[in-house]
Symmetry: C2
Subunit: 210 residues, 2 copies
């Protein structure tokens, strides 16, 4: 413990920072919070506390909760696509599906990233977020077809597998891995490999209160 106040919940005077850095910090925190509670369910105050700043500051910096979410979505898509592009550049064409699968599951390390994506994918009826989400999904689709050179059926299988993984994660199915035989079976089937990774993410940590 340092010599400052014992109240370390992030509300003691904070060091100033370049706004670029703070921005990154908040975006990371927001990715986690949106991943856990969804766009509507998450509050800007939760994001603020997770980032160690004040609630109004979050709104100030991004203009609105909606704009913040759009940035989180953008970042998540960029991370996804750039991961795939790296895989594409480093591996032989034939083994791609397997490598993509691994890379995808690896993205689970970035807490909330795939989860935030999934939350966006269910918000199609929202006029602004829905549009962004559709466009985002299409980017991924186009990457598969055009850059990675996947055929229609191969693309379908890959996307479907991804959505199944997302659903398992969204459901926090792994929370019951130890206590439920059927869950073990299901997860073993649903996750091609790297099951261990999903499990090591640990149980969902839910703050006692909102």
């Amino acid at each position: 413990m340092s010599s400052v106040s014992a109240d370390d919940d992030g509300h003691e005077p904070i060091t100033r920072m370049k706004s670029r850095d703070r921005r990154e910090l908040i975006l990371e925190a927001a990715t986690g919070v949106f991943g856990d509670y969804g766009y509507v369910g998450a509050t800007t105050d939760q994001v603020a506390r997770a980032a160690g700043v004040s609630q109004p500051y979050v709104v100030r910096m991004f203009g609105s909760k909606e704009k913040l979410f759009l940035e989180v979505l953008r970042r998540a898509l960029d991370a996804l696509l750039s991961t795939f592009r790296t895989v594409l550049a480093e591996n032989s064409r034939t083994e791609l599906p397997r490598y993509f699968g691994r890379a995808y599951v690896d993205l689970l390390n970035d807490r909330g990233l795939l989860l935030s994506l999934m939350h966006a994918f269910v918000l199609g009826s929202d006029p602004v977020i829905g549009r962004a989400a559709r466009e985002g999904f299409l980017e991924v689709y186009e990457f598969m077809r055009n850059e990675a050179g996947f055929g229609p059926e191969q693309t379908r299988e890959f996307l479907a597998g991804g959505m199944l993984i997302n659903t398992m994660v969204g459901l926090r199915m792994s929370d019951e891995f130890d206590t439920n035989e059927t869950v073990r079976e299901l997860l073993t089937i649903a996750l091609p490999e790297k099951l261990d990774l999903l499990l090591h993410l640990g149980k969902t940590q839910r703050p006692t209160s909102k």
Copy 2:
């Protein structure tokens, strides 16, 4: 038009009804609304207006928004499973996957049903809804494995395909079918057959205001 008030937005004196029937009516309305806006995003007032009753009445009848959603979830799962059971009873074992696929897409007719399910599947971090959602998904999984006799890989493929369809629907991807070439391509790939069905659901009708 009948002789009653011209204000027909559902707020004129309503005929009394057996509570069982009213209950069904509200559950149907709620399925649609939750499907469109998600559990958190939907309001009990939207549900009430869609059902033509007052907001407090909805809460009265179900105890809370949460309990209402749990009932919607339960009903959706029952509909899904009983549909599959019917298919199972009526068809030869060998062609099952195809028939299940069709039956699943047919469920899209029940506006909001699969959508509400999908919304539940992303709420794993909610202590009560998350638990119900996991259990629901497991019911479907067990049906496939035990009742329908699907093998692990067959089950995986089926569930994955289902989640991809759900995602397409959640994204309201079909709203852009006419205006976007890539969307047409994607939807043709993602929906094994019965694409027409998805399209005939029509554009998402979003009430001007909440």
